[in-house]
Symmetry: D2
């Protein structure tokens, strides 16, 4: 491979040659916008890469407020071309359905072509992913920017198609550059430093796998941490313990996925986790013949908030006993190990629904949607501040059984029915309001 | 990287599990179509990769006639969703321009999502590029398939965005696997075997560069062959000669691009050549400080056919003398070296226009569109059968001068004016009809 | 890794600075010798690499006659240091055995240190291996050079210790640079070109493995070609055939080593073949579970010459019938398929002894010494000109059975007894002089 | 490359087959010795690698005392073969000098062949280097083991010949595996953790280079740390500071080697530093055109000890003033910045001689022997506890000037004269006793 540095050099030289053509007197945002216009207009095609680079350079100088202005202008100026749409519409009226495809292409917002051309610059993909992270922030302030975000998301989803992703096993022979990012990106159970990282990637009974994209060479998109164990784990602390006798992996029966982290803010709503877990299951199955069970050890981030809301809702799902349980829990944390808690958690996971259907708990929604089944609820499983604050220490195992995932997935997708172990089923029944 | 083989394994196993769900009794084409429907419908999402693989397997069994049927069905069944379009149309009528973006996304043909999902399978990109090559063939028989080809082209152009391409220097340390493909793909001056290849990639004054895409690992998209020379070359034979004293590259002043080949039929109309030449110029400039001139040695594929047509056209561009020149040439090949030929060729290159504007000669159109200038016309430059048959042996140098390419490109794009050396300009003037 | 080119640069600069110090007026051989002296004397230690490089440069300019002179001088000038030896001898006389070790180090010829210092130059190992190839040639003319060759061999054997070698699987993804060398080095069954090579390395039922040394990066030391077959092969032609349906390697029972080539003349008498075969057996055993038999298909290079000598020897091993067989064979080649030939060949392989013991046939000596057993003799197995000329077309299978190789090796080493299949044993008995 | 794991597998299997042959009843040390004997005797040649592996396995179980016994037996049992020596001696008496070479090879201690055969095992080089580290320890207790150490050193020096070493630039893209070893091996200015390491390898104005050997893949032999600076540095703290604005390396004029660490105890007395510094100078010179000065910032480890001894020596080098300076310093550390100290240090570096000649200070001896010159003495340059304890904070710059190193080296080697800057020269003169 030939280094991008060389190309940058070219760009610099061409850019210098073309500098006089750019509108020097405008404000930065306007400048970036004028460059975008030039990039898409077809003028300057021969120096397109250089102009794309200039757009990123100009963008890099904007502060948050200027970014907001830039995004608004972008949305308006790179909208669907009205004239072209009118023509296509007229044709469609005359010819009917056969020209619907043409209507689609004629109505493509100009932002799509802009984003494609920006991507041509060296480092363009990286810059666009970061730009979208900014845009997502801006959209929270100004909901009118949503359509522009749709443009970004559409192309990024296409480019980060699973077919382009590469699975890598991250271990102690991986570069410090990548490992440092793993430490930074871990979002579930914080990695406290290089020693902690070493325990998670270099111990014989631990694995870490990530998806990478060729255009973001050493920057993971998502990664999953796995513990090889002798049984389904019921708490996180033993897995992360500093002093631990590692299990001979040849004797492991269970692969426990104990942490999954998305890494790129700018790729929100573009999902890789589904593919990642299934491919890692295959890797492990092939490497360790003794494995029979693939399971997660997952948080229940919404449990406590939900329960506390339910206690304020007389018509809610909770029984009187459960009401008082929740009330007691506020003042009495030791109750985390209470048996009643199991029923409460089961109720939440199986019965609490999201507004648009599916389980209310986001982690449950992810695994159930992938075809996993709710296998077990564990008390006092995560006693970290966050684990207590969110779920009184409760964690859950979701089971990935290859032969059932398709069936589970379809049942969940079609009528929202949740696959779960009989024991969990019983917990709900016995806990329902008498 | 973890091998795709593992994933294939997974797919096979899942596929076997799901086999009973596929419609076994249909003909192959129908089978493939039913699988496509299942893939896009959202059913079977958990096993999407396995179904995508099944589509490719089913497709691989189709003969040309069955492919034609399959493509027709694909076009019809994976058209724009009528209902969704109606809704978007209604909204657009009510809300006007602000919902044009929504109209665009609502009118996306279902084939787009199908192609994206097919791409997820291991080797999916390769299979889709090959499928499009078939589709291009089928479109020649049935012009109604063009819209389906537009769907393929749209996504492939997006995925083969220049930002995802990697430039590689191909030399004698490259794998036989890749080199074998270079031999097969060379489309301008045939590579007669490994010895010929060795002369083109391993001599100190020869270079070969190609663009590669991460999803087509060892298969080039396009490549260019370069000779480092002491002056602008005026014939191809000395460049390809078996016995040749190589030039010390530190003494070269000129980099001559003497062959550019596109490799993937399935990527037709997705252009990389523009970017390739510019990046290679940069590579060379950086490596060899003595270089001052970047130039092509190019064929003129349309010269003879054009001239012979003109002689049948009394109102054409040719003078009486040129008429008789062309007539004489049919019987007298030695005239290839005639001085009059220079004028004829200049006339063709500068004045003969394509129906949609721009130079009529396709090679001229490519380089002039890139911002090169027509530098020199060479007689008796390619005495191979093809060189004689197409252009009476004439070849042309196009000059890439970084400081002018933008200006040249814009002038050519805006008003079709062709940058050329004064000497070429004079040839035309003196050759024009009295 | 940082390129050696950089170091060369340094050497050049230092060398230029030091040039005035070298004896410019002498003949080349003398020049090289003076530089050797300077290199070893300890003067110029700071610029030792540069001087080593100068030695190689000066040596490269010598013709064969000058090389001979250079080697003679080298032998004499870089002999054991007499004074140091005298001192050590005196100590040994006084102190006896305890100072024998000191005697050894004191008597080291100065050529050893010279060779070690020459090796420090970039490319030094390559240059020394080539220098020894020259020296072996010179030794044939002048037997007095043998001791100098012993010096070279001693250090090269130490440096090319098996622990430093790397086994590589050579296939179609290997660089043309290496593959080209395989074609050139093949010494048993000529590789006729790239197509022939492709059949030997890229077919699913063919393998090629070589040993490489880190200091000779892309240059193999020895390689072996393997055919995966359904039974023990009895002829070479079917293995090398152009048109051939490859065997599904998962169904192969037998790995047949059909060609072993040493590549480096300068490493003569430094043996790797023993280690190579055993390691390749392991590779194959691990990759293909169906394999049960590891066997060679080997030439019998000395058969015909031996038989013809025996017919001139009335006291020899041959019976009267065998005498007449050999005589007939001179005029009647079709007899290659004669059954009597089997007995003759068995007699040669089992009974004809080399002057210093062991089998007379060099290929037999190699495999029997490794612990293989003589498994089968094949008629009309190699009908190439060389196969006919050397052995009337006879080839042999030697069997590598891991559980017996130690036993076979020891029996052969201790009392020269040759492991062979009962059928071969019977052939000898029945063929012995009545 | 094919993994060594496969070979290990083979070894295990062969070893199991041969286990019955080993002397099971002996103590471990004896066991290892018997295996050594078998390895060298030529018996078991076919399974030599397996036996070598068994030797290492048996050795690994020995405690320090058993190691001592093992080494003593090794020295005695693998001495020069008396018979062979007698024969060679007889020949030498008869034939004189011409058979001196033969005498050398005949007197080779059998330990040499043993070590060569041990090296053949996978990981053999690593195991031998570690074994020699143990042997060096044992030799301190039992000086009679020195000759055995000479055997080890002889072969290791030959195998770690500079021609086999590879220079690598260590940076943040290096594996954690290697980086972790850098932290552990740093012997001059301790690396306090990953953040400190990051500052030393990833800052734009810092470099770290190491020598590696192919048989010790990811384990450095020696490494050097470099700071790119705007002037010759006069203290270590600013170089290691946590908060620091890095210098644009394109503006650096000086490369300062501020730390050199040997990594392998088992390679003591086999020197690489000389070659390392020169090659790194070349790397830097090529990469950064602005560099003009290559210099060290080195400790003076023996200064204080020497000075305190001198004060007890009335006939010593110190003047009365210097006597009282040293005495004052014991109680008054602030005097580190005293100007008188400069003279004292200059005196030590230029006049204090080692018993066998050369500078007494080991660091000075190393750099002066390489041809560097003593450029400057810096007060209060290393205020760490060690810097104060060893040298009252004094550090020194040695200058590597390519055009002078040969001259400096020869002058130093021939008559011990030390190249130094005029200012340093003056310091000595003015500080000498009245």
């Amino acid at each position: 491979m030939i280094s991008g540095g060389i190309l940058n050099d070219l760009l610099t030289r061409i850019a210098e040659a073309g500098r006089s053509l750019t509108l020097g007197s405008q404000a930065q945002g306007g400048d970036a916008l004028a460059l975008c216009e030039r990039l898409v207009s077809g003028k300057g095609e021969a120096t397109g890469l250089a102009i794309a680079q200039q757009v990123f350079d100009a963008y890099a100088k904007l502060d948050a407020q200027e970014q907001l202005v830039f995004f608004r202008q972008l949305k308006d100026s790179f909208d669907v071309d009205a004239e072209s749409l009118d023509r296509a519409m007229a044709a469609w009226r005359k010819q009917g359905p056969t020209s619907a495809r043409a209507l689609h292409f004629a109505s493509e917002p100009r932002s799509q072509e802009l984003i494609r051309r920006l991507n041509r610059a060296p480092g363009g993909t990286r810059a666009l992913v970061d730009m979208r992270a900014d845009l997502l922030g801006a959209s929270r302030e100004d909901a009118d920017l949503k359509p522009l975000d749709t443009d970004f998301q559409h192309l990024l989803a296409s480019w980060f198609n699973r077919g382009f992703l590469e699975l890598r096993h991250i271990d102690w022979s991986t570069s410090a550059e990548v490992l440092e990012k793993i430490i930074a990106y871990e979002a579930v159970h914080e990695i406290t430093g290089w020693d902690d990282l070493r325990r998670r990637v270099a111990a014989p009974d631990r694995r870490l796998y990530g998806f990478f994209h060729p255009a973001l060479t050493d920057d993971p998109l998502i990664f999953v941490e796995v513990a090889l164990t002798a049984e389904i784990p019921d708490a996180i602390a033993p897995i992360l313990a500093e002093e631990r006798v590692p299990l001979d992996p040849a004797k492991a029966t269970t692969a426990a996925f104990y942490s999954i982290s998305n890494c790129q803010k700018g790729l929100r709503n573009i999902s890789f986790g589904n593919f990642l877990i299934k491919q890692v299951v295959e890797e492990l199955r092939r490497e360790f013949e003794s494995l029979t069970t693939y399971v997660t050890l997952s948080p229940v981030p919404g449990l406590r908030q939900w329960a506390e809301q339910e206690t304020r809702n007389a018509e809610g799902l909770l029984s009187g006993e459960q009401h008082s349980l929740v009330e007691r829990l506020e003042s009495y944390e030791e109750a985390t190990a209470s048996e009643e808690m199991l029923g409460l958690a089961a109720l939440y996971l199986l019965e609490a629904k999201a507004p648009r259907g599916g389980a209310q708990d986001p982690v449950a929604r992810f695994h159930l949607g992938n075809g996993a089944r709710l296998q077990r609820i564990n008390l006092a499983a995560d006693l970290s501040p966050r684990g207590r604050a969110n779920a009184w220490g409760v964690m859950v195992n979701y089971l990935y059984d290859l032969k059932d995932i398709e069936k589970n997935h379809e049942a969940y997708a079609n009528d929202g029915s949740i696959a779960c172990a009989p024991a969990v089923q019983r917990l709900v029944k016995s806990s329902k309001r008498g």
